[in-house]
């Protein structure tokens, strides 16, 4: 199995890199031989070669630099998603797939326009929150932390509904984006370590069978603890 960690050294805030290690470990524990490739600006990847692709979050300025490079993958990426292979994009990386990103100074940058949503960054302000969010394809909610400068409007197919925390914009409770097996979320950092059920789900998609689930004891307890702490905050 081949995993791709794209823009690993520039879209890498908050321990995002760990998601790739989580997928690698669970696939290996499920008996697969796994190679991970880490590529960045200026590299040329053939996306269809991979069984899983991950891109993490970056600073607003780094995201704009990456966006220019990322545009070359537009058709390939559309094909990859259409082929039902899993793609995870955390933080502001998934914003690149929309119509435009307008920065804090009002400059608009064209996105890949694969989806019909619009991103507006707020100058000097961040929206941060601990989050509990429910996904219709997962039996337990996602937990994590959102740390972003942007408001996103026009997402037709959100990933989840936030029951605690913040969503794509101030007006609604929906968060992220999902299309086939592409999942984009502003929940950042090691989302898959923090949500072992999401990791198992993605590993199941990659493998086409049930993955080994006996290597996630600490992750499971950590998840239970965070869900409990966040649930107490709601009360």
């Amino acid at each position: 199995m081949k995993l791709l960690h794209l823009y690993h050294d520039i879209m890498n805030l908050y321990g995002d890199y760990a998601n790739v290690l989580a997928v690698q470990r669970i696939l290996e524990n499920s008996g697969e031989e796994v190679t991970v490739e880490r590529l960045s600006l200026g590299d040329d990847a053939t996306l269809s070669d991979y069984d899983f692709i991950f891109i993490g979050s970056g600073t607003e300025r780094n995201q704009k630099v990456v966006l220019e490079d990322f545009k070359k993958y537009r058709e390939q990426l559309a094909g990859y998603i259409a082929s039902d292979k899993p793609l995870l994009m955390t933080g502001n990386s998934f914003e690149m797939l929309g119509n435009t990103i307008t920065d804090g100074d009002g400059t608009a940058f064209d996105g890949l326009k694969l989806y019909d949503f619009t991103v507006t960054e707020q100058r000097g302000k961040r929206s941060t929150a601990d989050v509990i969010a429910s996904c219709d394809f997962l039996d337990k909610p996602l937990v994590g932390f959102i740390n972003k400068s942007s408001m996103i409007t026009g997402v037709r197919n959100p990933l989840c509904t936030v029951t605690f925390g913040i969503g794509n914009n101030d007006a609604g409770q929906t968060e992220g984006i999902a299309d086939r097996h592409f999942y984009g979320t502003h929940i950042t950092g090691p989302v898959l370590q923090k949500n072992p059920h999401f990791l198992l789900y993605i590993a199941g998609l990659i493998l086409g069978r049930k993955p080994a689930d006996d290597c996630l004891l600490y992750e499971q307890k950590g998840y239970d603890n965070t869900l409990k702490k966040l649930s107490e905050r709601i009360k």
Partner: protein, 441 residues
């Protein structure tokens, strides 16, 4: 009259507050309500030295105050560490006469990096030290570039900047600017050619975003860098650490002054260097500074020696949500040649606000603890399982790691049958939970 009453009330509130053990923000808060531009109305000394940055502010300010006081200067400074505008106002007015004249040769202000603009819209520093820009309190500060923008908004044209040349993110503040003093370290014996870290915030040029080359890394993204495209590079330094020996515990400044280190850490070295730079600029003799800094032990309670039964140890206060702070503490523990056990506690992520975010654990270079000097690692606190998950990726053998959700149980374990030196690494929010179980020495 308004000025007179505002200062009077601030002083009274501070006096009463001290008696009943209240913090130092409230009097300033009241003063700012009574007279929002009070900081503009007071008469300030010739030197107004501000310090901001992610790490090292409090320690550096304490060192500067120590050196200047030892050399006959009177210094007004925020020794309680309240570093937002309210705390700064309390400090300034407490040190002022009722007519509004600050009674000191030097006003020394530690400022929170995120809110520096607010404080310095009223006070224009003569000198402004920026120590470093790290990933810190991501739940509040976003990321280093976001903090960069916040600090940039707080800088006056007429202020002399005193910058860490070794931090590429900080050095941008001096780009194209005349009145800048640079401090930094020459290539050191403790350096790494290849970066040893789980991330690199210096991988790309902060100006043009082309890849950067490092000829040497002091630690993390701190080192000697040059952009491969636009010419941005580490600036030559006016005040310099020319050599260190972390094993023996000394550093040498400007090739002349040798200082013996109470805390054998690069973290300590940069704080001393920044303090030395400021003191020199104020006119203190280099040798006098070296004498004052020799074996200097910080009084801010961040490094605490303790005894647990027959065992000895050091608590290294580190900041949760700040991976470089942890990395420094881990390096200190790993340097313990007679062998040490390490206790890491993550129980409350912050003492100031709630968050359950532990992403920052994945930015810490815990892999360094896979070292023969480290015998056992005890992980403790409410987030013990998140720590254990992180450690399961370090390659450290499982049998070396003990897990305790309960902090007293972790301490009891350490107090039974082992003899190694103990390094406890935790944050302000959790350290009392440990210190209440041991004897401070």
């Amino acid at each position: 009259m308004k000025k007179f009453f505002t200062i009077l009330i601030c002083k009274l509130l501070r006096f009463v507050g001290k008696l009943i053990g209240k913090g130092s923000s409230m009097p300033g808060q009241v003063a700012l309500k009574l007279c929002p531009d009070i900081l503009k109305r007071v008469e300030l000394p010739r030197y107004i030295i501000a310090i901001t940055g992610s790490n090292g502010k409090t320690s550096t300010v304490e060192m500067i105050a120590h050196i200047l006081t030892q050399n006959g200067k009177t210094v007004a400074w925020n020794r309680e560490g309240s570093n937002q505008i309210e705390g700064v106002t309390t400090m300034v007015l407490s040190n002022a006469t009722l007519s509004g004249k600050v009674k000191a040769d030097i006003l020394l202000i530690e400022s929170d990096e995120r809110y520096a603009k607010k404080t310095f819209s009223y006070i224009e520093p003569t000198d402004y030290v920026i120590t470093n820009l790290y990933r810190d309190q991501l739940t509040r500060n976003g990321h280093p570039e976001f903090v960069f923008d916040a600090i940039a908004d707080s800088i006056h044209d007429g202020t002399r900047l005193i910058l860490n040349a070794d931090d590429p993110l900080v050095s941008v503040f001096g780009n194209g600017r005349e009145n800048v003093v640079w401090f930094g370290a020459d290539e050191l014996s403790s350096d790494e050619k290849e970066l040893h870290s789980v991330y690199n915030d210096g991988a790309y040029c902060p100006l043009c975003k082309a890849p950067m080359d490092y000829s040497t890394h002091h630690y993390n993204h701190i080192g000697h860098y040059a952009c491969t495209s636009c010419g941005y590079r580490r600036h030559d330094t006016g005040y310099t650490v020319t050599a260190v020996d972390l094993r023996e515990g000394w550093l040498e400044l400007d090739g002349k002054y040798r200082i013996s280190l109470a805390l054998k850490s690069l973290y300590n070295i940069y704080n001393i260097l920044a303090a030395y730079t400021v003191a020199r600029l104020v006119g203190i003799d280099g040798q006098a500074i070296a004498d004052d800094m020799n074996d200097y032990v910080l009084k801010n309670g961040r490094v605490i020696q303790f005894r647990l039964g027959t065992r000895k140890g050091t608590l290294l206060t580190s900041k949760h949500e700040n991976s470089i702070s942890y990395d420094h503490s881990i390096r200190v523990a790993c340097a313990c040649e007679q062998g040490a056990d390490v206790l890491i506690i993550v129980d409350a992520v912050s003492r100031k606000y709630f968050t359950s975010d532990v992403s920052w654990l994945w930015d810490i270079d815990f892999e360094m603890l896979n070292n023969e000097n480290i015998h056992e690692i005890v992980l403790a606190g409410a987030y013990v399982n998140d720590l254990a998950a992180r450690f399961s990726y370090t390659g450290i053998p499982q049998e070396k790691i003990k897990l305790y959700e309960d902090i007293p149980e972790a301490v009891d374990y350490l107090n039974s049958g082992r003899n190694e030196y103990i390094y406890t690494i935790t944050c302000f929010s959790d350290k009392e939970k440990f210190l209440s179980k041991v004897e401070e020495v």
